[in-house]
Amino acid sequence: MATLNVNGKSREYEAEQDTPLLWVLREQLGLTGTKYGCGVAQCGACTVHIDGVATRSCVMPASALTAKQKIVTIEGLSPNGSHPVQKAWAAMDVPQCGFCQSGMIMAAAALLKDKPKPSDADINDAMTNICRCGTYNRVRAAIKVVAHGGDTKLAHLAITHTDGSVK
């Protein structure tokens, strides 16, 4: 048995030395919000935070992590989807199929923590996740919305939500 600190809790798991963190999260700890897309750190669907740094968990052996390192997955980013990035994502209907979006959101949250007002170049450098549906422009717009305090009206999407609000 080994131990990881995931989403603020100490979690025990059992896996071979080479088992990537991704598969420990998904198959041992039941956290399936983190996705498998390529297994070779190309697509970013598996992005989690390790001590605040966006990390591709598909090539990170779980055994390389200590019980002190703080791992945060999409499920632990906020208790109820209330992280500013998640709120902007939901208000602006950023996801399409949504499969890449956990990784996108984790990458964006880490970027905005490091650089609260990222430039386009900063966004390009940090957001190297693949989205095959092509949500890139809404992802960029949502990051800028968060950087500007979360007012989604800045994006001119004018989406009517079921609570009647127009965002």
Partner: protein
């Protein structure tokens, strides 16, 4: 191009001033978290209690269930894979139902239930941008019938004529007596009424939900990790499987050495899958995959082991001049007109194999017993998945069931052929009673696709001294999708899908140009690499071929590419309208910013008219930047304009990704590209701004998921020519130098 603005353009339609004002109680699958990560669909037997959201409430009709608390559950037969169809179809039903949108939720009926009820939900197929346009009529009628029954139930209770009652936002009112009730209160009584034989649908001008920029119904769970995709499914006692199929299409499994891995931790069984595959079943997928990778496997590569991209290209090239070809569109005598023309132009274009590369790889969970087979899978066509499961299970479809899960992308891969479902069932048959989840590795997914068909095209045209086209001949040669998927639909060598966008005028597509002599024909040349439907598919390469060649002709005639196109689109007002719209928005008649060059393209496909103007620059080192796309779509009606914008933006990501990088090459009979490192996809950095013009002209229903992909590449290729003088006729662009 500056990206100072949060988004480059204002929305093309104003937001509605009023909207429903209550929170939706649930989303599709929204209670998954409450049930420990299991998907709430519709009668999922293994889950047990509270499995079916509507099991305890009688339906008003097949499309509508109203719960006592006024929650309206709308049934959606088509699949949601990101394209927004689930929300759009719910809008259409709710529009006629006159229900409270804030309390709408959705669920998938299963194909097995549909089969048992004489296909009451119609077609499950979700492809060809047909999700909304092919079902809009009957789903709206479903909503209208349910409303009629609910109102009748209230009128019966009050003993007043139904015609004196009105319905709005799930409230039924009888004004004369001042009484009112809600749908939830009369739903049980309504469910016992005989449905009306006919209903009248609303005039589009009276729509309140359709045409509005409504938020999707399935977004929130995609921001929290709660959305369950096929790959995420967990069932009690479930095992996991990893598979390798023969890397050469048509080859077979010769042998495998199970003894070398059977003792590895977690490994339960090593099984042959059909005659060409082998799978490892283990407690976790990672252990199954690791064991499979460690196992020695011998393949019989079969008759195609020597085939290469070059040998395939030779076969297709021969079709360009073959005497025998199927005619798809013809008027006059194009060959004679070209022969007699004072000015002639000829060019050959080609388009490669491309993988769909859905973000979620193929996967399915199957449970098999001698009497029943159940499959949980992301599919674009639940009925086709059921048929594949039944065949592999060796059981009648009535003893099988498919539970659809959210798709992590479809793009055509998960529609027509369910090879992964067949494999999952064949594996599960070797573990009777145990659910087994099969997940492909990305490498398996890249090398066992159903690829965008490979084609070449020779275009020839004759022009008179004034630059008028007198004859136009387009010869296609290459793969037919239907030849492998639906051979019975091929007649006299003619696969109608091959001619997407090149057709005589019709509701699905129309080659908009009027030339006095026209011939578009096709020589079928198939190969062992399997072709499949692909987002946009034949319309994509066909539009590249004719829209780039039209551009070549305009330059040959020394005429402005916009003015040149307008001359020959005079009889196609809707084609012309979208082209003019993008030209106007892009500022075609004004100079582009310094160093920026423009290109145009237009087409009609999937029932919609589309056009694009691309602005690009090419550096001295040959680096291409696509700065801006202006795109127009006339889909007749526009059910949810903000989602159409999302689809159009996405189609440029998909289309430009294909144009820049998309290529699967064949060596020794197999696909060379294994993962995103060798089959790159476009990322954020390369994504242009996209200004979407949604311009529904009314009177018809066109699709929106695919059409604009087709104009992405040709608009950019034509802009590249304007920038560099280089005419790229073979994709992808990564194989070409744009250096001056």
């Amino acid at each position: 191009m500056s990206r100072d603005a949060i988004l480059p353009s204002a929305p093309s339609q104003p937001a509605p001033s009023s909207a429903p004002n209550k929170s939706r109680r649930r989303f599709l699958g929204g209670s998954a978290a409450a049930l420990g990560g299991l998907v709430v669909g519709f009668h999922i037997p293994l889950i047990g209690e509270a499995a079916a959201e509507t099991a305890d409430v009688p339906e008003v009709n097949a499309w509508v269930v109203v719960k006592p608390d006024d929650t309206v559950v709308i049934r959606i037969a088509r699949s949601e894979m990101g394209q927004g169809t689930l929300t759009g179809l719910a809008q259409l039903v709710a529009e006629e139902l006159e229900c409270n949108w804030a309390k709408v939720t959705t669920e998938y009926p299963t194909p097995g239930q549909s089969l048992a009820r004489n296909r009451v939900w119609g077609n499950f197929s979700t492809g060809g941008s047909r999700g909304i346009r092919d079902s809009q009529d009957y789903v709206r009628k479903g909503g209208a019938i349910a409303r009629t029954m609910l109102v009748q139930a209230a009128a019966d209770e009050w003993k007043v004529p139904a015609g004196e009652c009105t319905a709005a936002k799930s409230v039924i009112t009888h004004k004369a007596s001042g009484r009112s009730t809600t749908y939830g209160k009369v739903a049980l009584a309504a469910s016992r009424l005989t449905p009306p034989a006919t209903v009248t649908l609303k005039d589009p001008k009276d729509w309140k939900l359709v045409g509005k920029r409504l938020a999707r119904l399935d977004t929130v769970n995609k921001t929290t990790g709660a959305q369950i995709y096929g790959m995420d499914l967990k069932l009690p006692g479930m095992l996991n499987a990893a598979i390798k199929d023969c890397p050469v299409f048509g080859g077979k499994l010769k042998s495998f050495d199970a003894s070398s891995i059977e003792k590895r931790p977690g490994v339960k069984k090593v099984v042959q899958v059909g005659d060409s595959g082998v799978a490892v079943i283990a407690d976790t997928w990672w252990r199954a995959k690791s064991a499979l990778d460690a196992m020695t496997i011998e393949w019989d590569n079969g008759p195609n082991a020597q085939v290469s991209s070059a040998s395939i290209a030779e076969i297709i090239k021969a079709g360009l001049d073959a005497p025998e070809a199927a005619v798809g569109n013809q008027n006059g005598d194009a060959r004679a007109a070209i022969a007699a023309a004072p000015r002639k132009l000829e060019a050959v274009y080609s388009y490669p194999y491309q993988n769909h590369a859905t973000m979620e790889v193929m996967n399915a969970t199957a449970k098999w017993t001698p009497g029943r087979c159940e499959v949980w899978t992301p599919t674009q066509n639940g009925e086709a998945a059921l048929a594949a499961a039944a065949e592999a299970a060796d059981l009648p479809p009535s003893k099988c069931e498919v539970y659809k899960l959210h798709l992590g992308g479809g793009f055509g891969r998960r529609g027509a052929v369910h090879d992964w479902v067949r494999q999952a069932v064949l594996i599960a048959r070797q573990m009777p009673g145990t659910p087994v989840k099969l997940i492909w590795s990305r490498e398996e997914d890249m090398t066992h696709g159903r690829y965008h068909p490979i084609t070449q095209c020779k275009l020839s045209a004759g022009m008179d001294a004034d630059g008028n086209v007198t004859g136009f001949h387009m010869r296609l040669s290459g793969q037919s999708i239907l030849a492998s998927i639906s051979p019975q639909s091929i007649k006299d060598g003619k696969d109608p899908v091959v001619f997407q966008g090149l057709n005589p005028p019709g509701p699905e597509a129309s080659f908009g140009y009027s030339f006095p002599n026209l011939l578009i024909d096709y020589a079928m040349r198939n190969h062992h690499v399997p072709a499949g439907f692909w987002r946009g598919v034949n319309l994509n390469h066909n539009t590249i071929y004719f829209e780039c060649f039209i551009d070549e002709l305009a330059h040959e005639a020394k005429q402005d590419p916009l003015a040149f196109r307008r001359k020959f689109l005079a009889n196609s007002p809707k084609h012309l309208a979208v082209l003019n719209a993008v030209a106007e928005r892009a500022g075609w008649d004004k100079p582009a910013p310094k160093g920026v060059f423009r290109g145009l393209a237009q087409t009609m496909g999937f029932g919609s008219y589309v056009a694009a103007c691309a602005e690009v620059s090419v550096s001295k080192d040959g680096e291409l930047t696509v700065h801006r796309i202006v795109a127009a779509t006339d889909s007749g009606y526009a059910v949810n304009p903000q989602q159409i914008e999302a689809q159009v933006e996405g189609s440029f990501a998909y289309g430009l990704s294909a144009a820049l990088y998309g290529e699967c090459t064949i060596k020794d009979g197999r696909v060379e590209q294994q993962n995103f490192d060798t089959y790159p996809a476009m990322k954020m950095e390369k994504m242009p701004t996209v200004e979407t013009i949604v311009m529904p002209s009314g009177g018809f229903w066109g699709g929106v998921g695919e059409p604009t992909i087709a104009v992405a590449a040709p608009a950019v290729l034509n802009a590249i020519f304007a920038a560099t003088g280089k005419r790229i006729r073979e994709l992808p662009l990564k194989n070409h130098s744009l250096k001056a």
